[in-house]
């Protein structure tokens, strides 16, 4: 999530592509757009990974459109019910939706960035409780668990967790398990 040079999470989040529209001709860089053309003509659209996009955007060689994981459709869906959106589908398996969002946010101008920040924060808060609830539920099931009536909505919510939320899920589950072990253990022999 942080933009640290050594952060593996940041590197993974940077691996997403954003749609850029070039404003100027760039000679000998046609391979970036994936075509067989030698040069990039102005007004060409090309998906550029975000780590490369910084320099292109800040040098004012191109404009970019807000990527679809943060587009109007997703925003409306999140507004309706944050828990029903599958974030993992938006950024690919193991993707970091929040990390990607944070990076897009940092490129954008003040007003748009605030908009994205609000979307991200609301989504995170809206989903957090469900993440923790499910983590604790699974910790309570014990090692044999997995069985039991698990509803379809719960299952599909778990599949839709993004990388950041998965980490939280694991933390909460581990902590709840530890507490359970302690409460249930009665080790007189240890004393």
């Amino acid at each position: 999530m942080d933009n640290d040079y050594f952060s593996i999470d940041a590197i993974l989040a940077e691996n997403q592509k954003i749609q850029c529209t070039f404003k100027v001709d760039i000679p000998d860089m046609g391979h970036l757009a994936g075509g067989s053309d030698r040069d990039i003509k102005s007004l060409t659209k090309a998906p550029i990974p975000i780590w490369l996009a910084y320099i292109i955007l800040f040098s004012d060689w191109a404009d970019f459109t807000i990527p679809s994981p943060f587009g109007t459709r997703v925003r409306n869906a999140l507004k309706a019910e944050p828990r029903s959106v599958k974030l993992s589908n938006l950024v690919g398996a193991g993707g970091l939706w929040y990390g990607f969002g944070k990076m897009v946010m940092d490129i954008l101008s003040e007003e748009q960035a605030n908009g994205i920040s609000e979307v991200l924060t609301k989504a995170f808060k809206g989903r957090l409780l469900e993440v923790i609830d499910q983590a604790q539920h699974f910790a309570a099931l014990g090692p044999a668990g997995g069985g039991g009536p698990s509803t379809d909505t719960a299952q599909s919510f778990r599949e839709g967790l993004d990388g950041t939320e998965r980490e939280l899920f694991a933390l909460a589950q581990e902590s709840a398990k530890r507490m359970k072990r302690w409460h249930e253990g009665n080790d007189k022999a240890r004393r």
Partner: protein, 187 residues
């Protein structure tokens, strides 16, 4: 870091139990012992003398040790009783805030109930009350999660074991929120 992953996020319940073992409890000794100095975190590290049947205050670890050798009876602290816990449970379920309990009540209660359940009246009832109390309080810390904010969180009267349980993911979640929230810039 050299610590295994599971120990990095917070201390373990067992470590908390160890810390709580320094708490003083009353015992009725069954043996005589002179005042004896122990290695202790307290400045006053000497306990005793033990003169049956006079009561004496010793740390929990010593009481546990003596009890297991059948050399004392532990006098449960006054809050470890059906009346007190029942009253707290009623308060816990009727009011929105956490009720006040001894900071390390979970650890002390567990140790005493583990080794000296015969010294506690209505041990089974107390166990189930403690469980109810724990669940009521867990529901409240879950509400606290809902109000989670990137900068602060106030859950007064939360006890050590409960803090320890929610610490890993509360911290992580607040860290993420700090990244996501944009402060209105000063310019």
């Amino acid at each position: 870091m050299a610590l295994p992953q599971s120990l990095r996020t917070s201390v373990t319940p067992l470590e908390l139990e160890l810390i709580a073992s320094e708490h003083l409890v009353e015992i009725v000794p069954l043996i005589t012992m002179e005042k004896t100095a122990f290695i202790s975190v307290r400045i006053e590290g000497a306990y005793g003398p033990l003169r049956p049947p006079a009561k004496c205050r010793v740390p929990l670890w010593m009481a546990t040790n003596l009890k297991l050798k059948k050399k004392c009876h532990i006098v449960p602290p006054e809050w470890l009783s059906v009346d007190f816990l029942q009253e707290r449970l009623t308060r816990e379920t009727s009011r929105p805030e956490f009720s006040k309990l001894p900071f390390r009540f979970a650890e002390i209660a567990k140790v005493i109930l583990d080794v000296a359940s015969d010294d506690v009246q209505n041990a089974d009832k107390i166990k189930s009350l403690l469980k109810d109390l724990r669940e009521a309080r867990q529901a409240k810390s879950r509400d606290g999660l809902q109000k989670l904010d990137h900068s602060e969180l106030s859950l007064p009267n939360l006890c050590s074991m409960e803090i320890n349980e929610i610490r890993p993911f509360f911290i992580q979640a607040m860290g993420i929120l700090t990244q996501l929230v944009r402060e209105p810039s000063a310019e």
